[in-house]
C-alpha cells in the first residue's frame, strides 16, 4: 500500500501516492530520474529532490524542453518521469509528445498532475479537460487515469515496469480509497467494481467513486447497474465495452471534455459493434468561474446527476 495518508475526511490526494511510489521505485532502480519544469512542489517531489538531487532535472519553466529532455534521458539509458501540471505538460508541448515521445517510441513516463478542473477558479487556462482527446490519438502512448491512491501506485509501478511511453493522469482532487476485493491492476484491463445488468456506467479517475455511489442509489430503487473503472484509455479494453453494450444502456463519466475523451472512445467501440443508448458526461467545453466542486455540481458530475443520467438512458432502451 502506498504511504500516502488520508485527510480528516478520509479522502486522499493521489499526488501523495505518486510521490511515495516514485521514491520507493527510485530507491531500488538508479535509472529512475525525475524531470520537472519548475514543478517540484506541484508534483510533490520535494522528498525526491532531497534524497536524490542529482537525479532530478529541473529545466525551468520550459514545457517543450521538459518533454524533449525526457526523450534524451531515455536515450541515455534513464527511466525518466516527466512531471508537471497536465494542462501545460500536454498542451504546450504536444508536438514534443507526438514526435519525440510517441512517434520516436521512447521509454519516457509523462505524469500529468492536477488534471481536469482541479485548479477550479484559476480557469480554463489551468484546466486540463482536453488531454484525453489529444493524447489518445498518439500511437504507442499508453494512457492511464487512476481512480484512487491504490490504483495510482499500481499505475506508476506498471509504467516503470513496461518499456515504452506512458502518460499517467494524476489528480489532486480528494478521492476515497475504493472498496475492492483483492484488486489487481493490469494495463489495458478494465475493473468491474459493481456488478449489474440493466445498464453500465463507465468512468475513470475522480469520477469512479461518484459512479459507485450512484450505482448504490439505483440499487435501492431495484436498478442493477454495473460500474466499470476504465483506468486505461490506451490500449483500450474493447471486451469490457462489448460486455457493457449487452446491458443495453451506457453512461460514461469523466473529468474531461465530453468530446473525444473516454466517452468518445467508448462510443467508437459501441457504434461499430452493438449500438445501444449512450450518455456522455463531462464538461461541454471551457467552463465558467468556480471551484472544482462547484463545477462538478454545476455540470451534474455528482452521485445524483449520474443516477439521473442512468435512469434517462435506461428509459431510451427499445
Amino acid at each position: 500500500m502506498s504511504a500516502a495518508a488520508p485527510n480528516k475526511a478520509g479522502m486522499f490526494d493521489c499526488r501523495d501516492s505518486f510521490a511515495a511510489t516514485i521514491e520507493d521505485l527510485a530507491a531500488n532502480d538508479p535509472r529512475i530520474v525525475t524531470v520537472v519544469s519548475d514543478s517540484v512542489g506541484s508534483s510533490k517531489l520535494g522528498g525526491f529532490k532531497k534524497k536524490w538531487p542529482e537525479r532530478m532535472v529541473n529545466v525551468g519553466i520550459a514545457e517543450q524542453t521538459v518533454v524533449a529532455v525526457g526523450a534524451g534521458l531515455a536515450n541515455g539509458g534513464k527511466i525518466p518521469f516527466v512531471s508537471a501540471a497536465s494542462c501545460f505538460l500536454t498542451a504546450r508541448s504536444l508536438e514534443q509528445i507526438k514526435a519525440d515521445i510517441a512517434y520516436s517510441n521512447v521509454n519516457v513516463k509523462l505524469i500529468g498532475q492536477s488534471s481536469g478542473v482541479a485548479y477550479g477558479e484559476l480557469g480554463p487556462t489551468h484546466h486540463s479537460i482536453e488531454d484525453m482527446a489529444w493524447l489518445r490519438l498518439l500511437t504507442n502512448l499508453t494512457i492511464i487515469v487512476p481512480a484512487d491512491p491504490w490504483q495510482t501506485e499500481q499505475a506508476i509501478r506498471a509504467a516503470a515496469a513496461m518499456t515504452g511511453p506512458v502518460y499517467v493522469r494524476v489528480s489532486r482532487m480528494p478521492v476515497p480509497a475504493l472498496e475492492r476485493g483483492n484488486g489487481t491492476f493490469e494495463i489495458g484491463k478494465a475493473e468491474t467494481l459493481v456488478e449489474g445488468d440493466q445498464a453500465t456506467i463507465i468512468a475513470n479517475g475522480t469520477m469512479v467513486h461518484r459512479a459507485v455511489a450512484a450505482a448504490k442509489t439505483l440499487a435501492v430503487e431495484g436498478i442493477a447497474v454495473r460500474v466499470v473503472n476504465m483506468a486505461t484509455i490506451s490500449p483500450f479494453d474493447e471486451a469490457a465495452i462489448l460486455a457493457a453494450s449487452e446491458t443495453g444502456a451506457i453512461v460514461t463519466v469523466e473529468e474531461g471534455n465530453i468530446r473525444g475523451g473516454l466517452g468518445g472512445a467508448v462510443a467508437e467501440v459501441v457504434t461499430a459493434n452493438i449500438p445501444v443508448p449512450m450518455r456522455i458526461m463531462g464538461f461541454p467545453g471551457f467552463v465558467p468561474t468556480g471551484s472544482a466542486d462547484f463545477l462538478m455540481e454545476h455540470f451534474g458530475l455528482t452521485e445524483a446527476g449520474i443516477a439521473d443520467a442512468v435512469r434517462q438512458t435506461i428509459a431510451r432502451k427499445k
Binding site: 542529482e54 529545466v59 520550459a62 524542453t65 514526435a99 512517434y103
Partner: protein, 279 residues
C-alpha cells in the same frame, strides 16, 4: 604536433573530403530518382556530416545502441538525402537501401525514424526538436559522468523556433561541456534569407550570452571542422556552439546560395550537369 599525428590528421582530412564528395553525389542521385527532397540543405550540411562520421565521433555501426557511443542528432530532419547517405557510408545499413528513398513503405521516410533505421537517435522533422533532445542525452551523460559526446546539427532558420532557446538556457546553466551544437549557417530558409525573415545576427553573441563557448568556422573546410569538433571538451566548462558558415547548394554552380534549391528537384539535364561538377 608530431609527424605521425600530422600524417594521421592529413589522412583523416583526405577521407572526409572523399566521403563528402560521395555523399553529395549519392544524395543528389536519391533526390533525382525520388524527384523529392531538400538538396540545397543536403549540400550545405554534407561537410559537417562527413567530418563528424569520418573524423570525430566514436561509434560502431554494428552496435548502434552501445551506451558508450557518441550521439548525433539530426535536427534538420528534412535533409535526409545527406543524413541517410552518411549513415550508409558509415556502415549502419547497406548502400543499396538508399535507392528506396521515399518509395512506398520504405524505411527511408522523408524525415528520419529511429524505429526504421539504426543510427537515428530521435525522430525529427518538425524544427526545433533536436537540440532539446540532445540536451537530455547530454544530461544523462553528465549524471553518469560518462565520457560520450553528443552532437546536434540544426539549420539556421530553425533557430527561430523558441524551443532551441529554452534548451540553450539549460545547457548553459548546467555547463554541459559534453554537448556540441553545430549550426548549418547557410543564411537561407525555405523561401528567403534568414536576415530578411527574422534576423539571427549577431548569432555568436546570442550563444555566448546563453553561456556557450562559440567557434565560427568555414563549414566547408574539412581541416577547420576536424580541429574544432575533435578538440577535447574536457575542462571547457561550457557547451560548444559551432557556427558553420556554409552555402546552400554548395558544390554545384547553379545551386550555390540559391534558395530555389531548398526543396528543388533536378531535371535530367541539371542532374547530369551537377554530376559532371561533383568530381
Amino acid at each position: 604536433m608530431s609527424l605521425t599525428a600530422q600524417s594521421h590528421r592529413n589522412d583523416l582530412v583526405a577521407t572526409i573530403a572523399e566521403k563528402a564528395l560521395w555523399i553529395r553525389r549519392r544524395s543528389f542521385q536519391m533526390v533525382y530518382e525520388a524527384q523529392q527532397g531538400h538538396p540545397g540543405g543536403d549540400f550545405s550540411a554534407t561537410d559537417v556530416l562527413a567530418a563528424l562520421y569520418f573524423g570525430v565521433m566514436r561509434y560502431d555501426p554494428k552496435r548502434p545502441n552501445d551506451p558508450a557511443r557518441d550521439r548525433f542528432v539530426m535536427s534538420k530532419g528534412h535533409c535526409t538525402g545527406a543524413f541517410y547517405s552518411v549513415l550508409a557510408a558509415a556502415g549502419y545499413f547497406p548502400e543499396a537501401e538508399l535507392s528506396d528513398y521515399m518509395k512506398p513503405l520504405s524505411k527511408l521516410n522523408g524525415h528520419p525514424n529511429r524505429n526504421y533505421l539504426p543510427g537515428v537517435e530521435t525522430n525529427t522533422g518538425p524544427l526545433g526538436h533536436g537540440l532539446p533532445v540532445a540536451l537530455g542525452i547530454a544530461i544523462a551523460g553528465q549524471i553518469d559522468n560518462s565520457d560520450f559526446r553528443t552532437f546536434v546539427l540544426t539549420g539556421d532558420g530553425e533557430l527561430q523556433e523558441g524551443s532551441n532557446w529554452e534548451a540553450a538556457l539549460t545547457a548553459g546553466h548546467r555547463k554541459l561541456e559534453n554537448l556540441t551544437l553545430i549550426i548549418d549557417r547557410n543564411r537561407l530558409q525555405q523561401g528567403a534569407r534568414t536576415e530578411e525573415t527574422a534576423s539571427l545576427d549577431p548569432l555568436d553573441d546570442k550563444w555566448r550570452a546563453f553561456g556557450w563557448h562559440v567557434e565560427m568556422i568555414d563549414g566547408h573546410d574539412h581541416q577547420q571542422l576536424l580541429d574544432v569538433l575533435s578538440a577535447s571538451p574536457k575542462g571547457r566548462g561550457k557547451p560548444l556552439c559551432v557556427i558553420a558558415n556554409t552555402f546552400k547548394g554548395k558544390g554545384v554552380s547553379f545551386m550555390h546560395d540559391n534558395v530555389a534549391w531548398h526543396h528543388g528537384v533536378p531535371t535530367k539535364e541539371q542532374y547530369e550537369q551537377a554530376m559532371a561538377e561533383l568530381v
